[in-house]
Amino acid sequence: MNPILIAGGRVIDPSTGADDIADVYLVGGRVEAVGRNIDVPAGVRRIDAAGKVVAPGLVDIHVHLREPGQENVETVATGAMAAAAGGFTAVCAMPNTDPVTDNQAAVGFIVRQSQRAKKARVYPIGAISLGQRGEQLAEFGEMVGAGAVAVSDDGHPVVSSHLMRTALEYAKTFGIPVADHCEEPTLARGSMHEGVVSTRLGLPGIPAAAEEIMVARDTILAELTGGHVHLCHMSTRGSVDLIRRAKDKGLAVTAEATPHHFALTHERCDGYDTNAKMNPPLREAEDREAIRQALKDGTIDAIASDHAPHHYDAKERAFDEAPNGIIGLETAFGVAMRELVEGGYLSLSELLFRMSTQPARIFSLPGGSLAVGGPADVAVFDPAVRWKVDPAQSFSKSRNTPFAGETLVGRADLTVVRGEIVFERGA
Amino acid sequence: MPGVTLLLDAQAISRALSRMASEIIERSQGTDGLLLVGIQRRGVELADRLAALIEQDQGVTLPRGKLDITLYRDDLQTVGPSPVVAETRLPDDLDGRTVVIVDDVLYTGRTVRAALDEFADFGRPRRILLCVLVDRGGRELPIQADIVGLTVRTGPNDRVDVRVRELDGRDAVELVSER
């Protein structure tokens, strides 16, 4: 790779709190220097970042890339491209593939596909249980050895508390988090949030309690085992309260929330739009507010998209027959800027902390910082551009987003991974 | 601006109805089996008046009926959305009767055609006569009136409005021409 100088941008490093106009000089896949008017040899590629924001690349710790098994809706390569277009330099891919990524060969496959794609880094997450059936532990050690950075049965809850306990204990050996999709299955037989909107639409509902019961369980098990539990896609104010209490006790509990959960509410399901159907479902305005506040005060550590591609045919169905999930890699930053920064909840630096530094930290990934000597994973954002979401233009193979036609604020113009430009807008 | 010409005032209508009542008695050769059926809406009021005149003159009581032909129209699309259907009430025994259909204006003939179709679903009168207050020409079907109050020639941009005091507060027949 060739050296790159990103010059004159507003350089924000959330890991140090730095926020200045400066140059960033990348050499040999590493950050060589950050400062004003850096001297570089002739012939170095110069990127003019005046008026732009230069930051460590975003890190999304929760995406679904559908490969192996559903390559018609997304692959590691297309997902990594969509990620790069969204300003992400790294993503973590959930193992609910077909077959499930529950062994070292499967993990190694994801790693190799990521290397071939040469876009954003894709780190595999291994399954907690074989086949995600919730019965027998998968080989955490082998999977970590092949490159897995965490374990999760996401897509499914870990129903057995005994299994969750042993997973948390066993994962300590390898220093990885256990990420849980918190859902009490017998309470969650619905297709949207249980409330006045579900009553009006005649749709079966999922009460907030379905999530909160498992959040409570997981925080109690974290206390029992001393293991690190990471709570996926938090959506209710009750969950936020439980996490706050767990953190106040000093437990190893971390949490993430998706852009759609701090942008939308269950009212979005009016008209039976299947692009408003996801799990956990969109909740009430008070829940959305609690999520926003939790991202501000750190109760929720990170923003993660839960990017979930689905085929047009699959979503073109009656609401309760449609699959859950929406894509999100290319809209995450724009939605977050509009709802949280323009909305007055976070500063731009705080947002970048939640989307880059902190996710990297809690999953022990490289990145999330512009420290000299660290990896050259950098993104250049236009923080002010107002742009309209056109799913037909997305790099993802899928189009299922509720933000189609909406105007978002800010997006990535340039993404660099390991010192190589993997995305350049307009190029 | 439309021009309005008064064709018949209240007195003229009254005289015409008297004559029409006599013609009905003459054409049906008495009042045996006679049934007057008004077509909704204003035909009903006219039929009531004619029946009253006949009853007064002949000293009998006449059965009356009313017919709404909306459900039998052949041009539903042009009626527009949400048409309003009024009451249809006919005596049970139509067979063998002499029925006089009474309407305010005879124009294309489609209303009468619909009325004949509807009658066929109720029974088989021995004879049906058509009695109208105004025949304005412009027939689109081979239909004729047997008893007519006033014949007038009109064009396609004209309208003939019949007003009856029971519904409109006054009696008049007006020709409305678009200029």
């Binding site: 009553t199 009006r200 005649g202 169905r317 009656a318 | 309003v84």
Partner: protein, 324 residues
């Protein structure tokens, strides 16, 4: 003389105005008379093709619609989908496209998913009538209930009607709530709390916990059918208990302060939500409901078909497609 248009489809009562609902009820009156005639037929929908697309088994509603269609002289086709071998979702989209290609004028659809009627209505030009979609709405049932109430009381405004039973899973209850409240009726819901939806008060109804309260308060009870699957899903313990605690029995009715009108959408579980002596008793209007059902459905079909449709444009838009 015309009244406010209903639009292309009848999907539910939530989106209709009081005036539109009144107009449907008023239009049903002359159609009641048609069913009493010797020849129970008018040519109003002659030449129109109507498909009854029933994804859920139903005898009485389908037959009621079929009679309504035939008495309007329409041509009808019944399509019943067992739904076992083909995924329900795929069936609906492809079915919609096939119907449009056959230039069907109207579709009457009953489906197990809430929103299915709207889904279909958004994708085809034909008129769509919702005959029950999931737990969402069953507008013609509510309309015939309202017509029956109006027949008996001479008015709707100011009446007190209690809907009794499994409100949580009932599309009949929801449609009745929308229709009755819009026309000035005071509505209460009564049933076991485990079968009462969250936020039901926000729909403008009172919640009465016991059937005795409903009987003491109401002018009319609309008793909903208890589906026996509710026991298996753990909402209530047994039908015996349901009847003992919530059943509308002759003893309970005897203590009513006034003569209550009894309605039931059918089919009845005799001895469960309603006892036979009540169902067959002097205050029951269950059979007049059935008679009114045909008149109301005739009115709905008649009012919708007046919306003109341009098939001429459709052929050129689709291009020349091979048939298989």
């Amino acid at each position: 003389m015309t009244a406010p248009s209903l639009g292309k489809d009848l999907l539910g009562l939530q989106s209709l105005s009081a005036t539109q609902i009144q107009h449907i009820l008023d239009t049903a009156e002359p159609f009641k008379a048609v069913s009493e005639r010797r020849i129970k037929k008018v040519p109003a929908l002659r030449g129109k093709t109507i498909v009854n697309l029933f994804f859920e088994p139903s005898t009485r509603t389908r037959i009621s619609f079929e009679f309504a269609e035939k008495r309007l002289s329409a041509d009808t086709v019944n399509v019943a989908s067992i739904g076992s071998s083909v995924s329900k979702g795929e069936n609906l989209v492809d079915t919609a496209r096939n119907l449009e290609a056959m230039r069907i004028d109207m579709v009457v659809i009953r489906h197990g998913s809430s929103g299915a009627a709207q889904f279909l209505g958004e994708r085809i030009r034909s008129n769509v009538v919702n005959a029950g979609d999931g737990k969402h709405e069953h507008p013609t049932q509510a309309l015939l209930d309202m017509l029956t109430l109006r027949d008996h009381f001479g008015r709707l405004e100011g009446l007190k009607v209690a809907l009794c039973g499994d409100i949580l899973h009932s599309r009949v209850a929801r449609s009745n709530i929308w229709g009755l409240t819009k026309l000035g009726v005071e509505v209460a819901v009564c049933g076991p709390a485990s079968l009462m939806p969250l936020g039901v008060r926000d729909l403008g109804v009172t919640v009465l916990p016991r059937i005795e309260d409903a009987i003491a308060w109401a002018d009319a009870l609309n008793i909903l059918r208890l589906q026996l699957e509710r026991m298996e899903s753990g909402y209530i313990p047994s039908v015996r208990e349901y009847n003992r605690v919530f059943g509308v029995t002759a003893e309970r009715l005897a203590r009513a302060p006034k003569d209550l009108l009894i309605l039931h959408p059918g089919p009845m579980n005799r001895g469960v939500e309603i006892d036979s002596d009540v169902a067959d008793g002097p205050h029951s209007v269950i059979l007049p409901q059935v008679t009114n059902g045909i008149a109301v459905r005739m009115a709905v079909l008649y009012l919708l078909v007046g919306e003109a449709r341009d098939w001429a444009g459709a052929a050129s838009a689709e291009g020349m497609e091979d048939s298989e």
